[in-house]
């Protein structure tokens, strides 16, 4: 089990990232992944530019913690979190989370868990530039709800079905 994390300005390629994880482990049978990208519209306004700020040091620590948490809850092999920072434009890729496993249930659950916690715990902030100027994106209550649901025992049961 290895947890790879990267915070970078460069873009990423999901096929290459999956290939790199699989090259380490021929027993991988399931690869669940999530990619988040900049939409050209948010809250009804056209987004022209997005700036991603983070808190160096704490970011890496949180991403490692989230990855280790996922590994302790599900039978997974490796995880990868790549998060971009700096200036991004509409349609740009922002974040990639991958979990590999022998079976899909664990891969799906670990991947979704990492995304939910990343959204609520990892110190990244988005600032959007629209026609009306700049604004910091507000946190969504639904993200807190999404993260909290992993604290209930029900989710563990669910993940073990797959």
């Amino acid at each position: 089990m290895a947890a790879y994390i990267r915070v970078q300005t460069e873009d990423f390629n999901i096929s290459e990232e999956i290939a790199a994880l699989r090259a380490r482990n021929p027993r991988v049978g399931a690869v669940a992944s999530f990619m988040g990208c900049v939409r050209d519209m948010n809250e009804g306004d056209s987004v022209k530019l997005m700036y991603l700020e983070h808190y160096p040091g704490m970011t890496e620590r949180e991403l490692q913690r989230i990855s280790a948490d996922a590994a302790s809850r599900w039978n997974i092999f490796d995880t990868l979190i790549v998060h971009r920072v700096g200036e991004l434009r509409p349609l740009d890729q922002i974040v990639l989370v991958i979990a590999t496993s022998a079976h899909r249930g664990d891969a799906f659950a670990a991947c979704e868990f990492m995304m939910d916690y990343l959204k609520t715990q990892a110190p990244f902030w988005k600032r959007e530039s629209t026609g009306d100027g700049e604004r910091w994106v507000e946190a969504r209550a639904s993200d807190d709800i999404a993260a909290k649901r992993w604290q209930s025992a029900e989710k563990q049961t669910r993940a073990q079905a797959g």
């Binding site: 959204k119 609520t120 110190p123 902030w125 988005k126």
Partner: protein, 90 residues
């Protein structure tokens, strides 16, 4: 550098960094430790912007040495204390 032994690093991020007009500063402590709650009260007394943004009930987080903590946590000389809005990455 002797100051480091009786001071802390304050870090402000994202919207708070912009509102306060400062990203990082060194703050001298009056004693060897101070609770997060007391530190926030001290910052609120600086000016109306600090008072407003760090008012109780506002949504912000405090991390000491990269770990989010509550108001009762003791900040010690040499610590890095970051104050930031709810995160919005991913």
């Amino acid at each position: 550098m002797a100051e480091a032994h009786t001071s802390i690093q304050l870090v402000f991020l994202a919207r708070l960094r912009e509102r306060f007009g400062v990203a990082r500063e060194t703050l001298s402590l009056d004693s060897s430790e101070i609770s997060v709650a007391s530190l926030l009260a001290r910052l609120r007394s600086r000016d109306p912007v600090f008072a407003d943004e760090l008012a109780e009930g506002r949504a912000y987080r405090v991390a000491v040495n990269h770990t989010v903590v509550g108001g009762e946590h003791s900040v010690r000389a040499g610590d890095e204390v970051a104050i930031f809005p709810p995160v919005t990455g991913g």
